[in-house]
Symmetry: C2
Subunit: 229 residues, 2 copies
Amino acid sequence: MPISDPPDDDGVRVFQASGRTPLSDVALDQLFRAARTYPAWLDIPVGDDTLRQIYDLMKWGPTSGNLCPARIVFVRSVAAKERLRPALSPGNVEKVMTAPATAIIAYDLKFYEKQPTLAPHNPGIRATFAASPALVEPTAFRNSSLQGAYFILAARALGLDCGPMSGFDNAKVDEEFFAAGKPSGAEDQEFIAAGHYKSNFLCNIGYGDPARMRPRQPRLAFGEVCSIL
Amino acid sequence: MPISDPPDDDGVRVFQASGRTPLSDVALDQLFRAARTYPAWLDIPVGDDTLRQIYDLMKWGPTSGNLCPARIVFVRSVAAKERLRPALSPGNVEKVMTAPATAIIAYDLKFYEKQPTLAPHNPGIRATFAASPALVEPTAFRNSSLQGAYFILAARALGLDCGPMSGFDNAKVDEEFFAAGKPSGAEDQEFIAAGHYKSNFLCNIGYGDPARMRPRQPRLAFGEVCSIL
């Protein structure tokens, strides 16, 4: 059934017709409109339960073929932070070292090995990717980036603040945390790096210090970004 | 201030200490836990106002250096859908042709030309990227993917459903919608393609038909994805 062009200015009518409800303005503010990237943090720790709650929300976000390629290392202890320090851009060192936790959002280049769990109805996925190395990297990069954004919004939905960052040396992080043959230090969690994890971006999490917030940067207008055909 | 390891099981205490509140279970369900990728749609149109509302939320999501590289074409008219058809994988044709709207989530390889608007305090951005072509593509791809995920969650926050898809021929879409020198058909919106936009993924939007939903696919356990160091 092709859809004919709807009339303009029908947003309210559409919501009523569908029976669906937008989230409250308070919720939309918390997720998007009032949420900010924080450079400095209140001295409130982020516990294991909170980290699990973030994952238990973000994991539901859609990925291509349910491939779920993201892998996450929560760098929280002083010792682990020191392992991260040499990879950071100078401007990001203090942000990371003072953050209650820093997530390394990474991806697994062998994500397709999880097909028996994630897509048991589609056994061909494994062979397709194993035979198509050129497909693996963009698929993992795109979908782990999506999952990184789900992570940010899941954390905000739980009342946390985020500070995502690309300003670091990916190769150093990969060598230090994901090097071939070196365990990640979390063997008891079935999370063994074997040289096939790659870092995507970092994300500090905690409770941002409103007293050290910067002015908000502008965004592009609808017509500079979007067209309707 | 280095943070010492917090005790376990302190999620509730942390929320209280911060004064922040998680969203309601209803909201968390709508965004993550009960949200689904819909293959079929109710016959309810999505109007211009709704598309603008999605953008006016997603635009606030963080990108590296506030670069905001995503560009979006909302393919909604019958004529525009027909332009998209030849690029679609066979399994995605009906999903797209029957969706109230299909967003082409794309990115602008000349995103840095928007620096005067987006990062007026940081004029060096423009020169950095103009001089570093190898930085441009991964930066645009990562950040437009993040913005694509913000798009999905903004739509859900407004009560819409999404059906994101990678199953299409990116080169065909880029040729048809973003070809060098060809206007996109939206000149009045200052949105002219000039061969420097690339498609990332597609996302159907509308109100999903619950009667044609598929069984939910499983997700990985925390310990398969995450480690805490």
